[in-house]
Symmetry: D2
Amino acid sequence: MTTEKELQEALERARQAALRVLHQGRVATYIPELGKADPNLFAMSVHLLDGTKASIGDTDRSFSMQSVSKVFSLAAAMHAKCEDLFAKVSVEPSGDAFHSIVLLEEEEGMPRNPFVNAGAIAISNRLPGTTAKARFEYLRRFLGDMCGEHPPEMDSNVWLSETNTGHRNRALAHFMQHWQVIEDADGTIDTYFRQCAISVTAKSLARYGLFLANKGVDPLTEKVVISAEENKMLLALMTTCGLYDAVGQFAVDVGLPAKSGVSGGILAIVPGEMSIAAFGPALDGKGNSVGGIAALQSLSNELGLSLFN
Amino acid sequence: MTTEKELQEALERARQAALRVLHQGRVATYIPELGKADPNLFAMSVHLLDGTKASIGDTDRSFSMQSVSKVFSLAAAMHAKCEDLFAKVSVEPSGDAFHSIVLLEEEEGMPRNPFVNAGAIAISNRLPGTTAKARFEYLRRFLGDMCGEHPPEMDSNVWLSETNTGHRNRALAHFMQHWQVIEDADGTIDTYFRQCAISVTAKSLARYGLFLANKGVDPLTEKVVISAEENKMLLALMTTCGLYDAVGQFAVDVGLPAKSGVSGGILAIVPGEMSIAAFGPALDGKGNSVGGIAALQSLSNELGLSLFN
Amino acid sequence: MTTEKELQEALERARQAALRVLHQGRVATYIPELGKADPNLFAMSVHLLDGTKASIGDTDRSFSMQSVSKVFSLAAAMHAKCEDLFAKVSVEPSGDAFHSIVLLEEEEGMPRNPFVNAGAIAISNRLPGTTAKARFEYLRRFLGDMCGEHPPEMDSNVWLSETNTGHRNRALAHFMQHWQVIEDADGTIDTYFRQCAISVTAKSLARYGLFLANKGVDPLTEKVVISAEENKMLLALMTTCGLYDAVGQFAVDVGLPAKSGVSGGILAIVPGEMSIAAFGPALDGKGNSVGGIAALQSLSNELGLSLFN
Amino acid sequence: MTTEKELQEALERARQAALRVLHQGRVATYIPELGKADPNLFAMSVHLLDGTKASIGDTDRSFSMQSVSKVFSLAAAMHAKCEDLFAKVSVEPSGDAFHSIVLLEEEEGMPRNPFVNAGAIAISNRLPGTTAKARFEYLRRFLGDMCGEHPPEMDSNVWLSETNTGHRNRALAHFMQHWQVIEDADGTIDTYFRQCAISVTAKSLARYGLFLANKGVDPLTEKVVISAEENKMLLALMTTCGLYDAVGQFAVDVGLPAKSGVSGGILAIVPGEMSIAAFGPALDGKGNSVGGIAALQSLSNELGLSLFN
């Protein structure tokens, strides 16, 4: 077991590793609002199952979840006991970019996994509620309830920015409606844009992810978020599909289930031990936080966290 | 820790699980010699790090390694300290079938990972030796030496059968020679056909894999096969790329690094604990042993082996 | 030169050829309203440059233009002297299905040619007018004016049917908006759905196409519809891109510039001689009228019309 | 009808048009021997059906046929009355590069048309003869016999150069053997490399193509080379598939059936009128002679040759 002091020292070295590479990355600009982020920001937070916490860097700086939200919307849909959640979404790595429409055509509208954009849109469509906003509210309350806290807020500027520019995701939604994978492209895409705009900090993100390190049960509130079986599935999916088309390299370098987002957040899980959130808006060519990945690699090596050791 | 008795009981239940599904599979026929296999065969062997062994079923029945050999040829190339092994082979899941040539064209001859056929051919090309046979002999001796045993034999009928019919793999080799990923398509493909024809049993396969469960060191001979870093890489690659286009479902259902072959063999590793070999020539639609997967899923659930628990 | 009597006899034999194959086809059902068509209908009309006309079959039966409208919207955009019409639309055959989105991703939103759906949507977006309806009205009036007749009507049922089900085309439009090929996906798609619903008969369709056989000038009203250069381009595009993915076989069998639509219409042009319209709602597997193609092949052979003789 | 004087003047202007653009092109280098060509060379020859000839530029300079040979090997296979020539080769434009292997995988080894490399290799495999050399000799003699001349020679340096470097074409051949489209990849590819190396001049190439302008009959020897039906098919295929992925633009700009090769030759046919050969080794980005295309466009416009006028 790692002591708090060892953890804090390992975090410090992780931050050093991140700072060395931040200059190699660039903030995402395809959503204009994200382009305003400061590429020099970096934060990392670790929550252990017993409540021990450690943080470093800009941990109170808020950012939008973006694709990290895909983990929580899937967990929320599992929590809501949605039936046949995987009848129209596969569970295989895509081998293509996260927003690709090519595979969707080859496979008749069925997304490769719930973490490519198309798959996440299809899952959001399944959240309880008949309107975009109701489905989104379900997700927000799900996050708050499991931690016994206020639900997170949505960053309206990010949401508006995605609404105005997210034509590619809209194309994915209409394409899936053509194949009857979803029913209402316009409504579904709004749920999706809203969930991507959920505002978190490195601290709160690590807190939200804690149930994933504890077989689906939040260890502090003791609430059963999802079943142990569902939790195993989520971690397996994060491992094989969580980092866009860098999932193989991440498995080699870090060796943990994780999910990244274009705002620069990464959530990584050490089963039975801890939840880790990294944040750094400077991204590499594959859309992952350069600082986040460097810090996670350092931490994983220092503490021997890789599943493949 | 699992006792020998628990292990044997779990193997019995795994066999039951396998027998229930064998009828759903079919033996591979694209290599004519493989088409002669008995679809009702099934075997499973487990080797623990301390030398404890347990087996069930047709564990003395020999079969050709086929794609399971890709793990060992990569390990042998690492062992031989080949430089820049990954300069012309990526480490990402392909999202396509194992023998696809499509991605190879998009990515200018660079295979997606060392476990798709193209990648494995490129790695075989790097084994020490200037002829096909010399490279193959290096691999055979590598396997024997690490266990302190005789090197395994090659099944000449399988080798001839592949030589006569392996036009698709020959196409992959020539395509890579076009892109200067390999130098000598004809020689390289012969090394590859030979390694696929290496003859093993479930018992010997589990024995060969033992170093993978022990950070790269064979626990019985104490020989350093590959470094701990290289071993971590191999296990990560097996997890994200080891089961053709069923890697995501396998991670969900079994949750272990593994590599399958079309003769019906699967090698799975529990890091720090054990090496498992399953064998059953009846394959599912994605080319994986139906019995082998069912047995591994049963064993993983019974003993709580999944990395994602 | 063909006499009227020879023409009428050739039409009769063309009809016989069509009737023999009608049973092989099926009416399109992906637009529900089209599914109501009678698969036994067949009509063919020929207009010569000197005003001679000949017709056979159900030539007063009206049908919606569907993809045949793509020829006229491109002509109308040329007529309106739209600048840089081909800055964001290529002129090459696609090798893929007419509604494919795959090439659109590979080529960053730039449609392969103006006759695949994506290309036609991009062209419709360029028609004069700031609203969907204004652009559509321009096209209707263009058709009426050039012939000195009333503009054709739109079939509201077909338009509504496409509006309710055209999710795939909507996906194409949003995808192109992402790549800034068009500005307003929702408005553009409405123009497109409207133009596809323009109602014609075999007679009126052959009449509308007459300028294409006469270097861009309507031979009866003597109005210059487009320039001789633009007309040459249209005929070249019809020859290489006009029959979906059956363009090669059609060039072999018929050898004329042509454009087909899923309602069963085909417009074919013999440069310097005649305009031919065929109609038969029973389609082959590639979306072309089986009767229409058989009749055109018969007529082309009888009268030696192929450009490749 | 064009007089000899008009023809010569038009050729002079065509040459001017070519010389203006030669600097934009580059000689092919992927076959090393072709890289030695002088990019400033240019030649054009025209043969009329009545025996009238006109030439300009370096018309005695020899070059290897490369892909232009695909027209003649298909004609030779038709001449030899090979059965079911199109049972395993389609007749549609590919929409992809000429040497692409992607479509071949999607379509289970069946080439899109006889003018992409895979299709031409499959056709060469059908020439009479049981060895590579015998099939090649059949083609050579076919060319000589139809004109009553000596058969053309093969450029051994070019043949050797392709033999040493043509790994991509070898991959295509092995891939087709996998799908049983051809039987003997190694032998077939040698026939293909030999035919590509057939040595011609602009004059001799225009001479060989004369039957194509005359419904399949050589107008000077009066030998029936292929049937009128087969000739129509060849011209249709040249129009829809003859210029790699520039076939649409060529139809717009020149409007004639044509076939180009990477050595810089282009053969174009005006049905019922003339055979035209252009030569210029400087190629555009799509592998077509820049000078050849400019000259053909000039000639087509001057003399009103386009089929789409």
